[in-house]
């Protein structure tokens, strides 16, 4: 962080940032974020980033020609 925090809080925020996107923010970090706009922006923007990639990186089906070549190569069908 560019602003002052003790190492324990930084570690907790970083743990949060390496955890499940949908996981509930641990109470202590949530409480800290209520009084710290910078940390709120930091964590929220990471969540926005993940959401944006999830929206754009949608599943696609295997194109027919790709599938045909796969089964031909494996001598299956």
């Amino acid at each position: 962080m560019t602003h002052q925090h003790d190492d324990t809080m930084i570690k907790k925020i970083e743990d949060q940032l390496g955890s499940d996107f949908d996981a509930e923010i641990v109470a202590e970090v949530a409480e800290h974020m209520r009084d710290c706009p910078d940390c709120k922006i930091y964590v929220d923007s990471v969540k926005q980033t993940i959401k944006l990639f999830r929206v754009t990186e949608t599943d696609t089906s295997v194109p027919e020609d790709v599938s045909d070549r796969l089964f031909k190569m494996l001598k299956l069908k």
């Binding site: 955890s19 980033t49 990639f53 599943d59 696609t60």
Partner: protein, 202 residues
């Protein structure tokens, strides 16, 4: 619900047994069941269709050749993810060697901690049809070093648990968490730069 999942697992176990014995229709069924997931995984890590097809083909060659070695301790898709991810990472490393003169150094992740603390605009999802914005997202993923990209893809796009991703990548769960955090901060920083450039963020 649990019963349905158990039924599907039993069906797959039966298919694996038949496929191991050389039953072609069981082998076909297994490939059909898992090919879309593996193709999507390949696309997300490799970032192009041609390489994704190579990953797809090589993964199933290995699956059919080594089905005897599948212990059944993990699910078949986790095993296939491991094979496919290893193939994809190997290919990316080979490409990197070929492009050695333009290879990107490991980003300074430390510098990303707490950087760019400006509020992001609301409703950014509305911008995903904007060609320039999509290009920015694609470039950010391409720039993300492969070890971090693989973790981000497995955890945030393929929805694997930390434990599953650790197993697929043969690294510790703690390492998955660190890499995931760094990947997310890297991508966030790239997007923040883009938003600043296009004037969406002051």
């Amino acid at each position: 619900m649990k019963k349905t999942v158990n039924n599907l697992m039993n069906q797959e176990a039966e298919l694996i047994k038949l496929a191991r014995a050389g039953d072609r229709s069981a082998q076909t069924e297994l490939v059909k069941t898992h090919s879309a997931r593996i193709y999507n995984l390949g696309l997300r890590i490799m970032r192009n269709e041609e390489d994704a097809e190579d990953v797809l083909q090589e993964t199933f060659i290995i699956m059919l050749g080594k089905l005897d070695q599948f212990s059944g301790k993990s699910s078949l898709y986790t095993w296939l993810y491991r094979i496919a991810t290893n193939i994809a990472l190997q290919k990316l490393r080979e490409k990197k060697k070929l492009d050695a003169e333009i290879s990107v150094h490991e980003p300074n992740f430390e510098a990303l901690r707490g950087s760019q603390l400006k509020e992001w605009p609301d409703h950014l999802e509305d911008k995903v049809n904007d060609e320039q914005f999509r290009h920015c997202l694609a470039v950010a993923m391409e720039d993300l070093p492969e070890n971090y990209r693989a973790v981000f893809v497995l955890r945030d796009l393929e929805n694997l648990s930390t434990k599953e991703a650790a197993s697929v990548l043969s690294i510790s769960e703690a390492n998955v968490k660190v890499r995931l955090m760094r990947a997310r901060l890297f991508l966030r920083d790239k997007l923040a730069n883009h938003l600043k450039c296009v004037g969406d963020m002051r």
